[in-house]
């Protein structure tokens, strides 16, 4: 059987089985969900091992005709970029389930519904990255909103309903623009090469400049909402603040990557000319996002909003890397997506544990945790160091690749973006000082440290952050060929060194 389809179907079947379990047996439901997600993760690792690093193009290809009259097919396949993101998704789901063992309780819906939603979401995540048919991608892209909507609105805290609606409206708005562009490109394909949604075929279309610009914008705005780029970001802090930590991990760690993934796969690869036209604008927005997100993070009093704004800064780096269009910046951007996923997961999960122990997400309510809950404090601290891209940790490699790659083509943008590393020190060390250092705040003296389950959830994440910091080669080997293809498709080649290069 085909691996990608099996992997995608497994969580869905799991969700179906869990739906049959009695609502009252919460423990069995959780164990079942964990088991399913671990199996999926195992498949994901198998797939990664079997992936041929030396070749470009899609692997594990599957293709079945779906609606032939429209040229729509069920078509899957992965290159290095989609592989790394699928791997990220399937690794994070079991960690999220394990870490947030009790966060499904006390929601508007049952515990059972929570895990059904999570597993359905996992199917959508695999599908959206694996689809090589534009229409199929769109279906996953939109359908994904449903479980997320219920996860935020049903299980979060505070103004969760409002946050969920805001998330949905933003996404739908973007989705509609993208839909318009999809219809547009379908019409053009019908005229030029026959009806198809196959993205490889679509990338060969000859589209006139004006049309291309409009089609590009439809896609780009949808993606810039998803991986929020300034000024389309205001849904994210609200959603992250309201959602449970686990949902936030999947939302910021994986779902938002659909935006940056889409920029590579659809914006750049389908509309290279328009990409070039809009590059100056996008790079400007990306640099603004980096600094703006960082300043806003510094100014936050709520730990979850703070993490959300750091992510806006990080998405700025990813977008910058994608549109700087050098091998280094592009590989760096893709690796950044993965690294941001794991380091944000570590931040959200540890922050979530702090919040559930203290019953507050206000940074000022914490203090002196390093001496009360040392393991929790160290986990949060290391996650923070990863977020500020300390050399030796994984995010440094990706952030530096983005910067060094960007510099060779857009030195000014790269230098301004580099100011982000100073601000990053502030937005991490300020909450670290307030929450972990200083005298222990009243009411915190007896907070329990991490239990074994929680350690089991965070330890692999931290191990991965350190391992990929020292040895990013396995990930880069997967990413590099795909990034190279993107650059070539976009019609770019790397700038040569000024001294001794081939001029």
């Amino acid at each position: 059987m085909n691996l990608l389809t099996s992997m995608g179907l497994l969580p869905l079947i799991g969700a179906g089985l869990i739906a049959l379990l009695p609502v009252s047996n919460a423990k069995l439901i959780k164990q079942g969900a964990l088991l399913v997600s671990v199996l999926v993760a195992a498949l994901g690792i198998t797939m990664t091992i079997g992936f041929d690093r030396g070749v470009t193009g899609f692997q594990y290809v599957e293709r079945y005709s779906w609606i032939p009259s429209l040229g729509i097919s069920y078509q899957l396949g992965i290159d290095g970029i989609s592989l790394i993101l699928i791997l990220l998704s399937v690794l994070l789901v079991p960690i999220v389930i394990l870490a947030g063992w009790n966060e499904s309780e006390g929601g508007r819906f049952s515990v059972k519904t929570f895990y059904v939603l999570i597993l359905v979401l996992e199917t959508m995540m695999i599908g959206v990255f694996a689809a090589t048919d534009l229409f199929l991608f769109y279906v996953f892209f939109e359908a994904m909103l449903v479980p997320v909507y219920f996860l935020i609105g049903g299980y979060g805290s505070g103004a969760r309903q409002a946050a969920a609606v805001k998330f949905l409206l933003y996404s739908l708005f973007g989705g509609l623009l993208m839909l318009a562009s999809i219809i547009g490109i379908f019409v053009i394909s019908g005229n030029q090469i026959g009806r198809t949604f196959d993205i490889t075929a679509l990338s060969t279309l000859e589209i006139d400049t004006t049309t291309q610009n409009f089609l590009f914008l439809g896609f780009f705005i949808a993606f810039a909402i998803k991986a929020p780029l300034w000024p389309l970001h205001t849904w994210l802090p609200d959603a992250a603040k309201s959602a449970t930590p686990g949902t936030s991990v999947l939302l910021l760690g994986v779902l938002d990557k659909v935006g940056t993934f889409g920029m590579i796969r659809y914006c750049v690869e389908l509309f290279p000319e328009a990409s070039r036209t809009f590059t100056p604008l996008i790079i400007t927005l990306a640099v603004i996002s980096i600094l703006y997100g960082a300043f806003l993070a510094i100014g936050q009093k709520d730990i979850k909003s703070l993490i959300a704004f750091t992510s806006i800064s990080h998405f700025g780096f990813i977008t910058l890397g994608i549109f700087a269009m050098t091998t280094q910046s592009n590989s760096g951007a893709t690796l950044y997506m993965f690294n941001h996923g794991i380091s944000t997961a570590a931040l959200f999960l540890t922050a979530g544990w702090m919040i559930s122990r203290r019953g507050s997400s206000t940074i000022a309510d914490f203090g002196g945790l390093q001496r009360v809950t040392p393991i929790l404090a160290w986990s949060f601290f290391i996650a923070g160091l990863s977020s500020l891209a300390l050399p030796g940790l994984s995010s440094f490699v990706s952030e530096f690749l983005v910067l060094v790659g960007t510099y060779t083509r857009y030195p000014v943008a790269a230098v301004i973006a580099t100011f982000g590393i100073i601000l990053a020190a502030l937005y991490i060390l300020i909450p670290v000082q307030k929450a972990l250092h200083g005298p222990t705040t009243a009411g915190n003296e007896n907070l329990p440290d991490l239990n074994k389950r929680e350690i089991a959830a965070i330890a692999p994440v931290i191990a991965l952050i350190i391992a990929l910091g020292f040895y990013p080669k396995p990930a880069l080997e997967i990413i590099n060929p795909a990034a190279q293809v993107t650059i070539t498709k976009a019609g770019y080649s790397d700038p040569q060194p000024l001294v001794g290069g081939d001029k």
Partner: protein
């Protein structure tokens, strides 16, 4: 040549540090011993490498070790590679040697702290990171060590971070260092864009083809990095606060090794600076300003550690200045770095010994007459004192004298200017150090009754004694027969430049000795005899400004912190009211018009699910319409 042993220099202490952290309290009993043995073993490896290096002919003294490919994307290839040459071996011996002595000292100094094991884990982590800094064969490997020592420094300054002001001091140090790291990052980018390489060898090979603009830019960015790490003007303000860390840390990290990394960076980058005279001039100017700035601050400090910190800043100013003079100065910068490593670490340990005997009192106004009670401390400290002010034949005399000479030799008006500044610095150094000696070890007893000071235990004074020997002898050993100059020449002076003399060396030496005599005399006149227990309050505006560290914190607050906080607040407000406000306005008007249709639905959740469905249907229909 390659060597298989280099990696252990880093791997051993790194492993030990991780082990002590992961084992937690289980390792409390033996953690400090283990960490000290590990540190000692790195010194043994370093010494073995050193002797092996001496045996080899000059051309093949450097050894390398490639560990693995670290980052490889397109033409950007960085190996995890190590390079041990004449320059880095000097640092390896200093770091592991002084480092081990300070481990030994800390066993006793930290014996009452229940987190001693964690302290030693941090110390070992520092050793690993610092060795990586000086052994990395490329700017990016150096960068890992560079921020690694920054992290170690952050952790150790904040070792007692339950005190809020200590936690703030730690953060301040890290952020100031990050400003410097910005410079290092950009320097690496410039290197890659110009040379397609980031390794020292790769860049040096191609440096001749680069434009002077690029080299100047890269040089200035490297200088910024050095300024942050080495507490040079204008990023110097963090060093005084860093004294919040336990005193052995001040000795190792904030005196002997980490803060001197900027000097290493500039010396290592000699191939850049030698071709970028503008950047070199900037280096000299920064060094000159800082050597005076630190010395002036040191004149009015009553906190013994902060007085030594100001002195460190000033002495590193000398080193930075020397490194800015190019091949004529690199060797002397390193020489002063090494002698300073001995005498300043020794004096910091001495200060720790005094604090140990005085219930952690740091205010010199509460000291006095300690020579009688702490004979060993006062003698070892006194030898360090003679070394730093530059009394012949103690260590600092040779190294500082050479820097002053090099400054004059720069020639012309500049040479006179820089040379005079260096001489003036020597006067002030002699002044504030004599003041410190008199206030601490001589004069009237000013401590509280009933707390008789006592000499420190063997484990503490033995390292002080070893360092005192270095304070006496290291200068002459490095100087005689131009030992250090010849040793480093293959790295920093490949073309064997002929250095011109502006003034005969004997004249400069005489001037330097006269400077010392002037400084000592003024301090002696002012601070001999009995002192009061509190600092005089009726003082001139100059004294008050100096006591406020020449307004360094006020300037930072006025120029950066307050505007930064204002900007942050403004952006937070704007984000809520303007950007999100606009979104909400659009949203509510859209919802308003939709309210009429609301009745058709039973709940809004379904509303949106339906919307998605409609969207998909529209897509299908539109597609159909086109095809039919």
């Amino acid at each position: 040549m390659t060597s298989e042993n280099l990696v252990y220099l880093i791997a051993l202490p790194l492993f030990s540090s991780a082990l002590l952290m992961l084992l937690g309290r289980k390792a409390d009993k033996w953690g400090h011993i283990f960490a000290t043995l590990i540190s000692a073993s790195t010194f043994v490896i370093g010494a073995m490498e050193f002797f092996a290096m001496i045996d080899r002919p000059e051309a093949s003294r450097a050894v390398t070790q490639k560990l693995f490919t670290w980052i490889s994307v397109g033409t950007f290839n960085v190996d995890a590679g190590l390079l041990l040459d004449q320059l880095s071996i000097a640092f390896v011996l200093l770091i592991t040697g002084v480092g081990t002595l300070i481990h030994v000292y800390s066993i006793a100094y930290m014996s009452h702290d229940k987190d001693r094991r964690r302290f030693f884990a941090y110390l070992n982590f520092f050793i690993a990171a610092m060795l990586l800094l000086v052994l990395g064969d490329s700017y990016l490997n150096l960068y890992v060590g560079w921020e690694g020592v920054g992290l170690a420094s952050y952790l150790l300054i904040g070792f007692w971070n339950q005190k809020p002001e200590y936690a703030t001091a730690a953060k301040k140090a890290f952020v100031a260092n990050r400003v410097g790291d910005f410079g290092l990052s950009v320097a690496v980018m410039i290197a890659f864009a110009n040379f397609g390489a980031v390794s020292f060898i790769g860049i040096e090979e191609k440096v001749g083809g680069a434009s002077e603009t690029a080299l100047t830019a890269m040089g200035l960015m490297l200088l910024l990095a050095a300024v942050g790490k080495s507490a040079q003007f204008p990023l110097q303000a963090w060093l005084g606060d860093a004294m919040a860390g336990p005193t052995p840390v001040s000795a190792l990290i904030h005196a002997a090794t980490m803060v001197t990394a900027g000097v290493y960076l500039i010396t290592r980058s000699n191939f850049i600076f030698d071709n970028a005279p503008t950047a070199q001039l900037a280096v000299v100017i920064v060094g000159t300003i800082t050597l005076l700035f630190g010395a002036i601050i040191g004149m009015a400090k009553d906190d013994i550690k902060k007085a030594l910190a100001a002195s460190t800043m000033s002495q590193i100013g000398y080193m930075i200045m020397a490194s800015g003079f190019g091949p004529a100065g690199y060797a002397f910068a390193i020489m002063h770095l090494l002698t300073h490593g001995f005498f300043k670490a020794g004096m910091f340990l001495g200060a720790g010994s005094v604090m140990h005997g005085m219930n952690d009192e740091v205010n010199m106004r509460r000291y006095g007459g300690l020579a009688k009670f702490m004979p060993i401390t006062s003698i070892t400290f006194g030898l360090g004192y003679l070394a730093i002010i530059g009394v012949p034949p103690f260590a600092g005399f040779y190294s500082k004298d050479k820097i002053i000479e090099t400054a004059f030799n720069a020639g012309g008006l500049q040479g006179v200017l820089f040379g005079s500044a260096a001489l003036l610095g020597a006067v002030i150094t002699a002044f504030y150090m004599t003041r410190l000696m008199l206030m601490t070890f001589f004069g009237n007893k000013r401590w509280a009754q009933g707390s008789e000071p006592h000499e420190s235990p063997f484990l503490m004074w033995a390292p002080m004694a070893v360092l005192a020997v270095g304070s006496v002898a290291s200068g002459y050993l490095l100087y005689s027969g131009k030992a250090i100059v010849k040793w480093l020449a293959p790295v920093v002076d490949k073309n064997q430049h002929e250095h011109t003399e502006f003034l005969p060396p004997i004249v400069v030496t005489t001037l330097a000795v006269v400077a010392v005599i002037i400084g000592v005399s003024i301090a002696f006149i002012k601070y001999r005899g009995d002192l009061s227990e509190s600092a005089p309050s009726e003082v001139s505006i100059f004294t008050r400004v100096i006591r406020r560290d020449l307004l360094q914190d006020d300037a930072n607050e006025f120029l950066f912190m307050r505007p930064g906080q204002k900007l942050t607040q403004l952006l937070v407000k704007t984000d809520e009211s303007v950007i999100d406000g606009a979104v909400r306005a659009v949203g509510s008007s859209a919802l308003g018009s939709a309210r009429g249709m609301r009745k058709l639905q039973t709940g809004y959740v379904r509303n949106y699910a339906l919307l998605i469905l409609i969207g998909a249907l529209v897509a299908l229909l539109a597609a159909l319409a086109v095809t039919i």
